[in-house]
């Protein structure tokens, strides 16, 4: 079955459309709330996917992810506080434009750019995933092991300066937690500490709520509980003129291209995509001096990039079984929950499901446009709800959500314990993103490594004798050397500056 043979009636069912609608609204709300973010929106909805059909479940999460990326710009523009890390780039010009002209215009630019970026990402996903998957079918266990490893090191290497070792520790801890449960080769229980509940591994929803949601909420309680937000809740019509659209066409093109490519590369994610495209749009602009002072191009480029990167990050998930970002890794857990293994064989194994999700992703973008146009003013007003009310509500619903996924009390305790431990790790700048990625990729990496070693009779030379493996290995080594290169570069710069000052 090719993408042209897809029966669209299987996609346009009531349950799928409701999932997209609900996902978009929840994503917009959570994305707009400062301190939470797109990944949090996906985690928040994950417990609900257990009882849903697989296509509806994945579309619910993707709709939330897409919408949260735009939602982040609502708070960036109306409050001056970015709702998602990627929206920090948007805020550079979003805040001055909202102040100088109108918040509605800034939001309109953000919405249109997000939607066009989302469509570009979705089209790339539809057209390029299958050729990628066909190529991936030629790869074997050694390459999958190294690709998984490359994704993890990529996430770890974008950690704050000087913290790469801690991020690598987070990766190893994530892989270790992924080994809890039954061994896939021998059926032997590993590290279950006498708890039968752990035979199938740690519950993914409980784990994500514990290590992501609880520390995030407690961090807001710690830092921003009584922060008073003053929202610019007037003049919020998102309608744009043809002249406005013409002006932002070029940065949207730049942002969409950069976003899709950034999404493809594991670890880069939406934040890097937003900043790369902001810088590129500034360089290509006729008026770069107005960037940071309310230039619409400075909103259009990062917003189109962060939405395009969502589609881009889905391509390696479907083609290789390796998510392109942490948010997509959480989406991948919905596949796992439904017993689906993403990877190159998914196109032949379950084409209706696969194309349903690919085309459905396009629908999530259209839903974002419609709901965004109608309800942006409402979401901007939601932002004035104080954190002292909002955080306890999100906290309680997160705990209950963790329980509802499996109906096991064990999982609530697990979430709480992991949440408290994670809070300390977050305060000490360990990477939760790297941990989550590693946990999700743990089975892929272990199976790839053990099968490769079984084929080679225990020798690691198998990774050196295959050309693609060798290439991947060289890339991994270069990635690990990044901090050393960075240090050398800095030292050289410092020396140059010193010699110049003399």
């Amino acid at each position: 079955m090719s993408f042209l043979d897809f029966d669209f009636m299987t996609l346009l069912t009531l349950s799928n459309l409701i999932a997209i609608f609900v996902g978009t609204i929840v994503g917009l709300i959570i994305g707009a709330l400062p301190g939470l973010g797109a990944t949090m929106a996906v985690i928040f909805l994950l417990p609900f996917t257990y009882t849903m059909e697989p296509v509806a479940a994945v579309l619910l999460l993707l709709a939330a992810f897409q919408a949260a990326e735009y939602g982040g710009s609502i708070s960036a523009i109306t409050l001056g506080i970015p709702g998602t890390p990627a929206a920090v780039a948007t805020a550079q010009d979003g805040i001055p434009l909202a102040r100088n002209e109108s918040p509605g215009k800034a939001l309109g630019i953000s919405l249109n750019a997000s939607v066009i970026g989302g469509i570009v990402g979705a089209l790339c996903l539809i057209f390029f995933t299958e050729p990628f998957a066909n190529f991936a079918l030629r790869l074997s266990d050694p390459e999958f092991f190294l690709l998984g490893l490359m994704g993890l090191i990529a996430v770890a290497s974008i950690s704050p300066k000087g913290e790469m070792t801690k991020s690598l520790i987070s990766v190893v801890l994530g892989l270790m937690v992924g080994t809890i449960g039954m061994d896939m080769f021998t059926g032997q229980p590993r590290f279950i500490m006498g708890q039968l509940e752990l035979m199938e591994g740690l519950g993914i929803v409980a784990l994500l709520i514990g290590i992501f949601a609880i520390p995030e909420i407690l961090k807001v309680v710690k830092d921003d509980l009584h922060t008073q937000f003053a929202s610019q809740a007037s003049n919020l019509s998102t309608k744009l003129t043809r002249k406005d659209m013409k002006r932002i066409a070029k940065p949207i093109g730049v942002g969409s291209s950069i976003g899709t490519i950034s999404g493809l590369l594991p670890g880069l994610g939406t934040v890097a995509a937003a900043w790369f495209s902001y810088i590129a749009a500034k360089k290509l602009s006729k008026s770069p001096e107005t960037f940071g002072k309310g230039n619409p191009e400075g909103i259009a480029a990062p917003e189109s990039a962060n939405n395009a990167s969502v589609g881009g990050a889905l391509i390696p998930l479907f083609a290789l079984g390796i998510p392109g970002s942490v948010g997509i890794a959480v989406v991948m857990s919905a596949f796992i929950v439904h017993g689906i293994q993403p990877g190159p064989r998914i196109f032949t194994k379950d084409p209706t499901l696969t194309y349903g999700i690919l085309y459905g992703f396009l629908l999530t973008t259209l839903a974002l446009y419609i709901i965004g146009r109608l309800l942006t003013p409402l979401f901007a007003r939601v932002l004035v709800v104080p954190n002292s009310f909002l955080m306890p509500i999100v906290y309680v619903i997160a705990i209950i959500g963790g329980f509802s996924a499996t109906n096991r009390y064990f999982d609530i305790w697990l979430s709480l314990i992991l949440g408290l431990i994670s809070l300390l790790f977050v305060l000490s700048r360990f990477s939760i993103a790297a941990f989550v990625m590693a946990f999700v990729l743990s089975p892929v990496i272990e199976v790839g490594l053990r099968r490769s070693l079984l084929i080679s009779g225990g020798g690691y030379s198998i990774f050196l004798t295959r050309p693609i493996s060798l290439l991947l290995l060289i890339i991994i080594i270069l990635m690990l050397m990044t901090p050393v290169f960075r240090k050398f570069g800095e030292r050289r710069k410092r020396k140059k500056l010193e010699s110049n000052s003399r």
């Binding site: 609900f48 257990y50 009882t51 000087g162 070792t165 801690k166 690598l168 520790i169 190893v172 801890l173 892989l175 270790m176 080994t179 061994d183 080769f185 021998t186 032997q188 590993r190 590290f191 407690l218 309680v221 710690k222 830092d223 509980l225 009584h226 954190n387 002292s388 009310f389 955080m391 306890p392 509500i393 906290y395 309680v396 619903i397 705990i399 209950i400 329980f403 509802s404 109906n407 009390y409 609530i412 305790w413 709480l416 408290l420 809070l423 300390l424 790790f425 305060l427 000490s428 700048r429 360990f430 272990e446 490594l449 053990r450 070693l453 079984l454 225990g458």
Partner: protein, 151 residues
Amino acid sequence: MNSKALSVVLLLGTGLIGIIYYLSTNGLRRLTGSDSGEIGADYFPRLLAIILIALTILSIIQTLLEKESEKIDLGNWKMVVATIILTPIYIFLWVNVGYFYIITFIFLFSLIYLYQADRKSKRMLVINAITTSSVLVIIYVFFGLLLDVTF
């Protein structure tokens, strides 16, 4: 507490986890009777434990060599501690006593009450009661009715 001290404590804990994890793999090997060269259930965990211990040692050295140590901003730490104390009590009562909706009402109401800057305001108490009741209705509809979750 400063960031350096917290890092060292966490890294020591991580190293300990690595050692315990490594020792646990001996049990896995005994169970299958595999020898040391075999790629059994213990192979990957053993590798991870060794990498973790090595990275932990490296990170401890890096942390100790750091010249600067930031003070961790504790912010509203009293509220965080209150939340951390109240949550296990809430879960314990929910699991062992039951009456999920009543206990959740009390927990949510208490958290919102604690988080307010002005706790004496009657208006706030009324808003709190209305908000908490509305959230419980939403929980009942979404989780109880739609997802058929039995609490």
